[in-house]
Amino acid sequence: MEQDAERSTSTTTIVESTPEGPGLDPIARVRKLLFRQMLVGIKDGRFFLGNFHCIDKQGNIILQDTVEYRSIRRSSPSPTEQRCLGMILIPSSCRTSCHVDCSIEEQLSLVQLKE
């Protein structure tokens, strides 16, 4: 039940710690996210889903094997059109959201740690 509830809201925040321990610094934790599926939303309403490849100090992200999702109508934001783009660079200035695919267990432990 609890898992279902988490899935429906589909969002959690990785804030401070990972199961590896609270001592790990943010850079090391971001490094652990490399190669994982990342979903980035940008200003004009599109989403990009790809493998996290690189990030620089300015927050520009490079994704690999990316798929672009866009909504057909502005009024109902349902991303129904998609196309493959390969390697893309998302400048931090146009990024509005960023999520990583993680297991429910990992997420649950994160929530527990957060609390």
């Binding site: 490079i62 390697m87 997420q107």
Partner: protein, 723 residues
């Protein structure tokens, strides 16, 4: 750690939709705060990346939201449907019938501009298919005029795409045939033409009705006028009629030209003539259409995409931008309406030139005609048509085998020799000829590159054929000394002719360098030297071929009293040989003059700070040397023959005088061929001017000499000035 905690409160974005699935048994976790914490900890220039990261590869990443790279940026509308729902392309366009007609004319004009811009190398998606009425013709089915016009536009685009992709000349302009994701519905679009005919009929009647006197009007009263303002009715009808008729004839032209073996060319010429006369009516209608706009004081009409100068309704080039992937989005500038009309006039003239081909199975004629055609730099569409006409099913015009054509070039008849058709060399020759003709229809830079490359194939083929034919000839003469195998005779003559053909290709390769401005004045000396040796060989082989032809024809005439000798053809070929000799003398004269100037320091030497003369020589002529043209060390021969020329000896050489004399003699022969006559006149003038220049510079070394191409595109005229 502190800043991270603070930022965590600002998280509000999350995937708003469940349709982007996370993995099985997994969820999306927001990492924005973590990323920003990590970023602030990073040093300047530091990256977080995996082991497989490669900065060079990363440079090729597509930058999102960069207008030059990201074709997906959501602009005015998210989709075509959204645009339609917002009333961007209403049907009908206006409830006021006059405004409706005006708007339709604007759409027609803008579509013409879009189509021309597409032909010039932009994507179909960003040009013709930027029109919502073209994208969704089913919406306008109640509006016969707009509907049928859009259907015909689509059918025309289809016909053009099919010509260009069948000809496969589009490697050079790969964007042209990209129709991925565009709605092409052949069956529905084919219905456009009959519908447009019906619409034309109606408008014709409306035009007659408004012209008719009041007494007759009663009879025609049942016919509803095109629009409500009776004063404008006639002009509107006329403006629409010429636009409709142009579309109709243009589509007919394209279809006629595609008929096999050039059977539709005659009819196509009639449609082309109609198209051109309708284009004149376009310009006439512009006066009337822009009355409103002139009153509003708008002066920039020249740049507009419509005759009226108004912006058309229902066009958004950003709608389909994503379909132009995988190429990056390109900024496109549409032509103006006036320029588009000029473009069509040129296109139609080029198509007419193709239709005027005499379809003679004469290789010399075909090659000359193709080169003449290419002189006006025709665009992709007409070049594709020419190529499809020339080569169909591996035959010339889809009719004559290349064996027959090549045998005819040496006055032999190979049509009855069926065994020869399957000869390995003949099959290969057919392949080489097909390839050559296709290349000659390509654009200039592409053509030159390819010609250089195929030279090697031709010369290898010639060497192999030479060995086989030589061995066969030896065996043959030992067996039957009197009556040799006829196939072998043909093969032997074709082998001899190959050398001429190879030198012809080499000459074309060298000449195209002038068209592409590849030669600098300091390199003219080596270029003319190479042209000279190529021309010399070509003229020699051609003269030899004339002897064979005359000899064979004479024998045929002796054997058979009724035999009709084609004297006109024999004369034509002999004239061409003389023309080649004239050019040879000119090239030789130029080489000597340029080398003398160089040797005495009156011209800049071709040695620059970066590469030696030998290196430049190799850069220009490497492909020719690889194909053993000439068979000796070209650079050595070039330096030897040009290192001792001196200015004071120049007038002793009679090269320019020889050229002038031949030119004078052959002018009469070309009286019926205006193109060739103009060329001979040009050559004569080059010779005349250079004779004067030679006399001047041999006496006074302080003169300044430069070279211009004002009399002939390939043979330079020396211009002498006091310093």
């Amino acid at each position: 750690m502190q800043p991270v905690r603070e930022e965590s409160s600002s998280i509000h974005h999350h995937p708003r939709n469940s349709s982007i699935p996370s993995g099985d048994n997994s969820v999306w976790a927001d990492v924005s705060p973590l990323l920003s914490a990590a970023c602030s900890d990073l040093h300047e220039g530091e990256l977080i990346h995996g082991d497989n990261f490669n900065l060079f590869a990363a440079m090729s990443a597509l930058e999102i939201m960069d207008p030059k790279m990201d074709s997906g940026i959501v602009s005015a509308f998210s989709s075509i449907d959204e645009a339609i729902e917002s009333g961007f392309a209403p049907v009908p366009i206006s409830s006021n019938s006059t405004v409706n007609v005006e708007s339709i004319i604007d759409i027609m004009d803008h579509l013409l501009v879009c189509e021309a811009t597409w032909h010039m190398g932009h994507s179909l998606a960003q040009t013709v298919f930027s029109c919502i009425y073209v994208l969704r013709p089913e919406r306008t089915s109640s509006q016969a005029l707009l509907h049928s016009y859009c259907r015909v536009i689509r059918a025309t685009c289809r016909a053009v795409v099919s010509v260009v992709s069948d000809a496969r000349t589009n490697e050079e302009d790969d964007l042209f045939t990209m129709t991925y994701g565009l709605p092409f519905n052949g069956d529905e679009d084919a219905k456009g033409l009959p519908l447009l005919n019906a619409v034309e009929e109606t408008i014709c009647r409306q035009l007659r009705a408004c012209k008719a006197t009041s007494s007759k009007k009663r009879v025609l009263e049942e016919l509803e006028p095109l629009q409500t303002n009776p004063q404008l009715e006639e002009s509107f009808c006329k403006a629409l009629l010429c636009r409709i008729r142009f579309r109709k004839h243009f589509l007919h032209t394209l279809n006629c030209m595609r008929r096999p073996q050039g059977r539709g060319l005659e009819l196509a010429r009639k449609h082309i003539a109609s198209c051109i006369s309708e284009l004149d009516s376009f310009l006439e209608s512009a006066e009337f259409l822009r009355i409103d706009v002139v009153e509003n004081g708008e002066n920039e009409i020249e740049e507009k995409t419509t005759a009226s100068g108004r912006h058309p309704i229902g066009f958004d080039p950003t709608l389909n931008k994503r379909l132009s992937a995988p190429t990056p989005p390109r900024a496109i500038k549409l032509l103006s309406w006036k320029k588009a009309i000029d473009y069509y006039v040129k296109l139609l003239h080029n198509l007419d030139q193709i239709c005027a081909f005499s379809m003679e199975p004469d290789l010399d004629y075909v090659l000359q005609s193709v080169i003449q055609f290419q002189k006006s730099r025709p665009d992709l569409v007409s070049r594709a048509h020419l190529q499809l006409l020339l080569v169909q099913d591996g035959k010339l015009y889809g009719r004559d085998t290349f064996l027959a054509i090549c045998a005819r070039a040496v006055a032999l008849d190979a049509t009855r020799d069926h065994a020869l058709q399957k000869n390995e060399y003949i099959l290969q020759l057919g392949q080489l000829m097909t390839n050559l003709l296709k290349i000659l229809c390509a654009n200039t830079p592409w053509q030159r590159r390819k010609l250089g490359k195929i030279l090697n194939d031709w010369s290898i083929f010639r060497v192999q054929m030479g060995i086989t034919v030589g061995q066969a000839m030896q065996q043959d003469t030992s067996r039957t000394p009197k009556n040799g195998d006829k196939s072998l005779v043909i093969l032997n003559h074709i082998y001899g002719w190959l050398e001429e053909q190879i030198n012809w290709v080499a000459l074309r390769f060298l000449m195209l360098g002038f068209d592409l401005e590849l030669y600098s004045p300091s390199e003219y000396c080596m270029v003319y030297w190479y042209i000279y040796i190529t021309l010399w060989k070509l003229a020699e082989r051609a003269r030899f071929r004339v002897l064979i032809i005359v000899n064979t024809e004479e024998r045929k005439a002796k054997k058979n009293k009724d035999y009709h000798r084609d004297m006109a053809r024999e004369d034509r070929i002999s004239l061409c040989v003389l023309l080649l000799q004239c050019q040879t003398s000119l090239a030789q004269g130029l080489t000597v003059m340029l080398s003398a100037l160089r040797n005495q320091g009156m011209c800049i030497k071709s040695e620059g700070p970066f590469n030696t003369e030998n290196e430049k020589f190799t850069q220009h002529f490497e492909l020719l040397q690889k194909a053993s043209l000439p068979e000796y060390d070209a650079y050595e021969s070039y330096t030897e023959s040009t290192s001792h020329t001196r200015l004071d000896y120049l007038p002793m050489y009679e090269y320019f005088r020889d050229a002038q004399k031949i030119a004078k003699d052959i002018k009469v022969g070309f009286a019926n061929d205006p193109g060739k006559l103009a060329e001979v006149r040009g050559l004569e003038q080059v010779a005349e001017h250079n004779i004067i220049a030679v006399n001047l510079i041999s006496r006074d070394c302080s003169l300044k000499v430069s070279f211009e191409f004002n009399h002939h595109p390939y043979f330079a005229t020396a211009v002498v000035r006091r310093s």
